[in-house]
């Protein structure tokens, strides 16, 4: 078990007072920054690209490649938006970074901004995260006092200001363009693409949007080199990932493991197995938007590409373990309820489709299912997925489809029971 656990981003999680600059400095904070400031910005981008660092917000897009999309010869200011609007059900990793090791994130932000030539960074923090926001604000203050932020950082001539911006409680503001709209003070409606944020983002300027966890790996990559990082994980997704394990396991929590660690190992070894040693029924592997897995499928390696192969996704690595006691009909009800509530209402398929899915799912749940409901839901999923502005429609459709396909017998039983009661 121990070989999977590699503490990079989580190395200070158990250290008392690690959010104070003095403690963080003792633990080696800002060493990566000192090294980065001696490097050429393009070399930093190349190093990160070489490390195969993937975006940990959910999409898994290579971070170095994303940085490369920002136009170099522009007169406009460039911005970095740090996505700390962590709202994916089953995911609670970014909060720990903000709360336990904020200086790691600040260091990651400074290195990233130095590499791309950005002088203003916004950290968009989920509105409910009052306490982490406070700690992070203190950390920014301390870092500025110590010369890690502000004008002429560590005498390098590089300037950077970091601002925090609290969200107002919408899941959709975690989508990068929804976040940008919200940051501009508008309703968090995702934008149509093209243009992409790298060209026209916040305040119509080139913008990089990265997840908190993604940026927190950057200091260690610079300090220890891309090869070291790449070797920790799989050849296509380097390093480690923070897995938030919740649900019916003995030891729920956030674990930093090498990417590619088998799901079975995570559930049975790292998280201690199923609660009360019951039978495993299903696993949601990467936040609620990821298609559900049956017990036969849990030997899969937890990295972006292996998960794609079995038509699920690593997503935000929020693992929700479901044991035999849970009813899939209930799970589907709660899942559709969430997406129906969080659909922003901008584009037609998602706005009306998520509502419809929820209404059918709740009917089945209360015992008023009708024959044909399951095929109807599958057809609705087809008509929502990939036809919307942002991925929220797909995030609602994919797990619904997987759940109905993999547990169809259970849903049919519920519908037949309803028919029998009605007769």
């Amino acid at each position: 078990m121990t070989e999977e656990v590699v503490k990079i981003t989580s190395r200070n999680f158990d250290v008392p007072q690690a959010h104070r600059l003095s403690v963080a400095l003792e633990r080696g904070a800002y060493q990566g920054l000192r090294k980065a400031l001696t490097m050429k910005p393009d070399d930093i981008v190349a190093e990160v690209r070489k490390s195969k660092l993937r975006g940990h917000g959910g999409a898994g897009f290579p971070a170095g490649v994303k940085w490369g999309f920002v136009p170099k010869d522009t007169d406009k200011p460039k911005y970095l938006c740090v996505n700390a609007d962590e709202s994916e059900p089953g995911t609670c990793k970014d909060r720990l970074i903000l709360q336990k090791d904020p200086h790691l994130l600040v260091e990651g932000i400074v290195i990233t901004c130095f590499a791309i030539g950005i002088h203003t960074a916004y950290v968009y923090i989920r509105g409910e995260y009052h306490y982490p926001t406070r700690i992070f604000n203190d950390a920014i203050h301390e870092a500025r006092e110590a010369g890690f932020l502000g004008k002429n950082i560590l005498g390098s001539g590089f300037d950077l200001e970091v601002y925090t911006h609290p969200g107002a409680g919408m899941y959709i503001c975690g989508e990068e363009t929804g976040l940008i709209e919200s940051l501009e003070g508008k309703k968090g409606w995702p934008r149509i693409k093209p243009p992409f944020p790298a060209v026209i983002g916040v305040f119509n300027c080139p913008t990089v949007v990265n997840n908190v966890e993604t940026l927190s790996y950057v200091p260690s990559i610079i300090k220890n080199g891309a090869d070291w990082f790449l070797k920790l994980g799989t050849p296509t997704s380097g390093g480690t990932a923070l897995f938030s394990v919740s649900g019916h396991v003995k030891k729920p929590g956030v674990y930093e493991l090498r990417t590619g660690t088998p799901l079975r190992t995570i559930i049975y070894d790292v998280a201690g197995g199923i609660r009360d040693d019951k039978k495993l029924k299903a696993v949601i592997p990467g936040g609620s938007s990821a298609p559900i897995l049956t017990p036969d499928e849990i030997d899969v390696a937890m990295d972006f590409d292996s998960m794609m192969e079995i038509k699920s996704m690593l997503g935000s690595a929020g693992i929700i373990v479901i044991d035999e006691d849970a009813s899939m009909v209930d799970v589907l009800f709660w899942l559709t309820r969430f997406y129906r509530h969080e659909s922003c209402g901008q584009c037609t398929p998602c706005r009306e489709g998520t509502e419809w899915l929820f209404k059918v799912a709740s009917r089945i749940q209360v015992g008023r299912g009708r024959p044909g409901d399951l095929d109807l839901m599958l057809n609705l999923c087809d008509r929502i997925e990939a036809r919307t502005i942002c991925p929220l429609g797909a995030a609602a459709a994919m797990p619904t489809r997987a759940m109905i396909k993999k547990f169809r017998a259970e849903f049919e039983e519920a519908i037949q029971k309803a028919a029998a009661t009605a007769a």
């Binding site: 149509i192 659909s343 037609t348 706005r351 509502e355 008509r383 919307t388």
Partner: protein, 569 residues
């Protein structure tokens, strides 16, 4: 110019245009709600999705946002695209009240039209519907039914981008999203009814028009707005057959007609409501002569003969300087031209059209002009007034008041506001002959000796030249009320009676004659003035950027087939 292939048809299209516009050039109409060529791209209705093949990869994307690129292959009629349209329409209808029988937009509703085209399925929706505001008063002109709304956000974008008044927004989220005005801010701007034109469904209806007529009874004629010097292109919607509600009402609404040179897709509320007088009770319907202080209806021959003999007598006795003619900048170009020709032939020098203080309207950057006369430019061009001293009507009037003029012919004007300084309406009592020629009753008509009714602008053909020198034609929509006649015909008959036969049988002859005489109009031809008008020589350039003709989209949701494009132009 990139070369693209749409549904197997390879063609060159202008660089930078969107696929939906390129498809229009190819004669393919892609269904859409949120897209409007005059507004920013929202991309939210998802109805206009097509399959796009680029570099061997085929994907589904919205055609309103993707610019054309060289080598692009576009499929607009595959199984997938048809399924997308069916899906979007089904989604839009699940929470729609489907109250078409009582919806004012039925017949010109894009939801209806597209469903008949692409939907046609049985409902699979058994759940209770989401309920929102019904019959919600948005402001003085528009009523909202939020349940019918498809949330295309065209109206929101219009208020943000065109009228720049920001009254509307979409509130709430998910399927409870609802279009409504911002708290305490009524939809009250000079262009508010444009949102009714933009609304593809029956969510926004005009207080002025709702429940007056079913739209499929309406017939359409292209015309020009007579309300200010902008001269916006409009359509006149009228109905002559279904009179059980209001027998007098023939014209029911005016809608903007796309014209990139003048008004784009828009029309102001004032112009939109400037048609009630056409069917109002104060229209003059018969030539009248006042005898012993009482009006008596006469036929045209009698009226013209009486006018001719009395006018000839005055000219014969006191010379042409005893006659004054005040024509109107509200009359058509041809009317003013025939008046000038007659005034020249009669050697009348006391002639004018414009009162100096007539700039009383509100003006803004979008459309509205302070000058409320549609044809001021033509008056200046034709030279009915003395060159170099426009606005001489007050001088002519003063001469009449001071007894230097014995006969005064007035077209359309109500003179009473200009007589206040000189003793009110009674100031003209001493005139030997006061002739009023116009559409509607007013105090000046009441004080006249002879009154001749003219046809309103929707009852005849003619042209207006707007403040930028754009000449546009308008057409006959409804027949002239009563015995009224186009103004040029009255003048022509009067001239013939007085010994100057012009022999015009048709308005086009008047126009061609005018074009021959007036240098600036010499390269204009009656049949060549197209739907967007033509530029008069020496006129200033349009203040609107030139747009491609292919973007000429009809106002949204209009049921009436635009056959007039062939019939009129």
């Amino acid at each position: 110019m990139p070369t693209i292939t749409i549904d197997g048809k390879t063609m060159e299209v202008p660089a930078g245009i969107k696929i939906i516009e390129a498809a229009r050039l190819a004669g393919i109409r892609i269904p859409h709600y949120c897209y409007h060529p005059g507004l920013s791209i929202a991309g939210s209705c998802r109805l206009c999705q097509v399959e796009i093949e680029e570099r061997g990869r085929r994907r589904l994307d919205i055609s309103c946002n993707i610019p054309v690129a060289d080598g692009m292959i576009i499929y607009t009629d595959t199984d997938l695209v048809r399924d997308v349209r069916k899906g979007v329409l089904e989604f839009l209808l699940v929470n729609h009240p489907i109250d078409c029988p009582i919806c004012d937009d039925a017949g010109e509703c894009d939801l209806q039209n597209y469903y008949m085209e692409h939907g046609l399925y049985d409902s699979r929706f058994f759940e209770p519907k989401v309920h929102k505001h019904k019959v919600y008063d948005l402001g003085p002109t528009v009523v909202l039914d939020a349940e019918r709304c498809v949330l295309c956000s065209r109206c929101v974008r219009f208020c943000a981008e065109i009228s720049k008044t920001h009254e509307l927004g979409i509130f709430g989220h998910g399927s409870y999203s609802e279009l409504i005005n911002y708290p305490g801010k009524a939809l009250d701007n000079p262009y508010s009814q444009c949102v009714v034109d933009l609304c593809p469904v029956g969510a926004l209806t005009s207080k002025d028009f709702r429940f007056k007529r079913r739209v499929w009874y309406l017939k359409t004629t292209p015309s020009v707005c007579p309300s200010c010097a902008r001269g916006c292109s409009i359509e006149v919607h009228y109905d002559l057959n279904h009179v059980w509600k209001d027998p007098r009402a023939r014209v029911h609404r005016l809608k903007p007609r796309y014209n990139p040179q003048v008004n784009d897709w828009w029309l102001c509320d004032r112009g939109r409501q400037n048609f009630r007088w056409v069917d109002a009770n104060d229209r003059l319907i018969s030539p009248r002569i006042k005898k012993n202080g009482a009006w008596g209806n006469v036929d045209w021959d009698t009226a013209i003969a009486e006018l001719s003999s009395r006018l000839s007598k005055i000219i014969h006795e006191k010379g042409p300087d005893a006659v004054g003619i005040i024509t109107s900048p509200k009359s058509s170009t041809e009317d003013v031209y025939v008046w000038r020709r007659l005034a020249d032939d009669l050697k009348v020098s006391n002639r004018a059209a414009v009162f100096p203080d007539e700039l009383k309207g509100e003006e803004d950057d979008l459309l509205r002009k302070a000058d409320l006369n549609p044809n001021r430019y033509a008056v200046d061009l034709i030279g009915i007034e003395q060159k170099g001293s426009p606005g001489t009507a007050q001088e002519v009037l003063n001469k009449a008041v001071h007894g230097k003029i014995q006969a005064l012919i007035v077209c359309h004007h109500d003179l009473s506001p200009y007589l206040q300084s000189s003793g009110g309406a009674d100031a003209l009592r001493n005139l030997e002959l006061l002739v009023f020629i116009g559409c509607s009753d007013n105090p000046t008509q009441n004080g006249a000796h002879i009154s001749l009714p003219t046809a309103a602008w929707v009852e005849r053909e003619g042209t207006y030249i707007n403040f930028r020198g754009w000449i546009q034609r308008f057409f006959l929509a409804v027949p002239p009320i009563g015995e009224s006649m186009p103004e040029w015909k009255i003048t022509e008959r009067l001239a013939a009676k007085m010994g100057h036969p012009y022999k015009y049988t048709d308005i086009s002859q008047v126009f061609q004659d005018a074009a021959k005489q007036i240098r600036e109009m010499e390269d204009l031809s009656w049949s060549d003035i197209g739907p967007h008008g033509s530029r008069v020589q020496g006129a200033g350039k349009s203040d609107k950027p030139e747009r491609q003709k292919s973007f000429d989209l009809a106002p949204t949701g209009c049921f009436v087939e635009r056959v007039w494009q062939r019939k009129y132009f």
